[in-house]
Symmetry: C2
Subunit: 328 residues, 2 copies
DNA sequence: TTGAAAGCGCTAACAG
DNA sequence: CTGTTAGCGCTTTCAA
């Protein structure tokens, strides 16, 4: 049996409420959504009738004149990424608290899909939450027909929050150099990722400042499956410390190294980023840099609802675990 | 500077297109969305004008008369749960493929919030995807003003898919008994979860069939943090095998046991459910039962779009890793 | 094949 | 404080 047909039994409208209450529709409307501009008695009466009839406002109809739906679109390169889950959660909670809902749009690391989302959803949402958008800035601007807040990508004219990548790199290099490492290799992420560019730049910077060797390898897709190729490239580079674009790659590297019998951190140290679920109990537990994902999600929503976050750059902290150790 | 203000520069409407093309709005509308009922020349002309003007249909306006928004609401007890992420991904992909988008609603394991979502979003979406809904069936039915497809909870009159819990329990008990275990304890999940009820029933069933002892402990919140209390309860029960409601609890138990110096599977065996990210590399790697989450998400969407899945019960498989072993 | 006009449900002037 | 009326942008009868 198919139960997917439309069961809508001609919903009760504000006209029904108004008629039943014996007032004009505008009065009913005001009584329900703009109290104060109507007498207490009328308001109470209308409310009672609405309640009795089981009236639920049609939000589409409400949205047509106002142009506001109470919906935000969350555009993400990859829903699967555990790190993004924290951001989603924070954004959802903040949106819910503000009476909004989130429309999810996965762009699969693809700029064209990303832009298509911006276009398709524009008339439907009050704003966009752009997580590490991959499209060229010009295209983004051209397709953006709604307010937007951006995570991890400074874009002219758009508010946003970013992780403190420079601080993260400083932490990482400082930690590694302190352990005696003289050759560091960075396992790159997506070329279209702003964070990746920043990571390369600042890592190279801090490495130079400390006078240690630095190499870039990749790019690699930011998924577990990149582990083997990234690990091999890292090993081949002669570096004693591997810094991965994110934890997924790092954990993949760890798994490959363990299978290959390469000791971590005995032979090489490995550092990740994001502190995803699992980073604390992979093998060995992963040293990683992280910034508060839920806070990022909340901040994005805040930017759209008028609550600017205190600081648009989120602190980065280094979580030292067992995947890093003294140089061999 | 605040850029969150509405930048909408009076979007081009179908009236603009019609006027510019020198036809009636109805003709323009047909040309754009109901081709075939209009001459080829007119259609092409209108399309060209629309293109040139950068016309993008206002989906809210489209939705008002039709009542269809192309939005589905995905109502989940807990977005944070890694297992649900797979389902979200599958649902998003299937929805996108069908030209729909997903509105995310986290009910935080709370029936009241869940029902509030159903009410708030009803007029906005074409249907609901209910993931393990926690509310009483009667309330659910009363609040559901739209078609719905349900995951992991058989509900009269509503289509849905469920994991094959009985098969999962059979696998688990068979595996454990084969290893010599005679006393099994189940670490319960949320009391409002249908899956939990099924798990209890079928586990008890299969244990009885094999003539082995069975105990129920809990309930425990389905999160990592329940590990310590669940582990202690399990240890105290005298069971040699602990079967957790889900992997989060199981991994939490594993962590607590490791910290407490209790050998797994030397002293007790541990089984989880869902095979979440991390289950393969926690310590020791977790034996767990799982069913295809992405497929579940796709199936739910299929139920709403008219593509009924071949089989409404998803296969359960047992992934044997190192957290289970011979009885001490 | 095309045009004119009504209406989806609600809000917001504008009067009274 | 309350009622009348005009749209929001689009689709869809109903005529022509």
């Amino acid at each position: 049996m198919d139960h997917t047909g439309d069961p809508r039994p001609r919903a009760v409208t504000i006209y029904d409420v108004a008629r039943e209450a014996g007032v004009a529709t505008s009065t009913a409307s005001r009584a329900l959504s703009n109290p104060g501009r109507v007498s207490d008695r009328t308001r109470a009466h209308v409310a009672a009738v609405a309640e009795r009839l089981g009236y639920v406002p049609n939000r589409i109809a409400q949205a047509l004149p106002s142009g506001r739906t109470g919906l935000f679109a969350l555009v993400i390169p990859d829903i699967t990424n555990p790190h993004h889950v924290g951001l989603i959660r924070g954004a959802e909670a903040a949106a819910a608290a503000a009476g909004h809902s989130l429309v999810l749009a996965d762009s699969q690391e693809d700029a064209a899909i990303e832009l298509a989302h911006l276009r398709r959803l524009a008339s439907f949402v009050d704003g966009f939450l752009l997580v590490s958008p991959r499209s060229p800035a010009a295209e983004l601007a051209a397709h953006l027909a709604r307010p937007a807040a951006v995570f991890n990508r400074p874009l002219a004219g758009l508010p946003g929050v970013v992780a403190d990548v420079d601080a993260a790199s400083a932490h990482i290099v400082g930690h590694l150099v302190g352990l005696g490492h003289r050759r560091i290799a960075y396992l790159r992420g997506p070329v279209t990722s702003w964070a990746d560019g920043e990571r390369r730049r600042t890592l190279a910077d801090h490495a130079a400042r400390h006078g240690v060797g630095f190499a870039e390898l990749g790019p690699f897709a930011p998924v577990l499956g990149s582990g083997p190729s990234a690990a091999e490239a890292g090993l081949g580079s002669g570096a004693t410390a591997l810094v991965a674009f994110n934890d997924l790659i790092a954990i993949g590297v760890l798994q490959h190294l363990e299978r290959s019998g390469v000791s971590v951190p005995g032979r090489v140290s490995v550092v990740g980023a994001d502190d995803v679920f699992g980073a604390s109990f992979c093998h060995p537990p992963l040293t990683t840099v992280t910034s508060p994902a839920e806070a990022a999600g909340r901040a994005l929503v805040g930017l759209l609802t008028g609550t600017a976050p205190e600081d648009p750059v989120l602190p980065s902290t280094l979580v030292v675990r067992e995947s890093t150790g003294p140089t061999p």
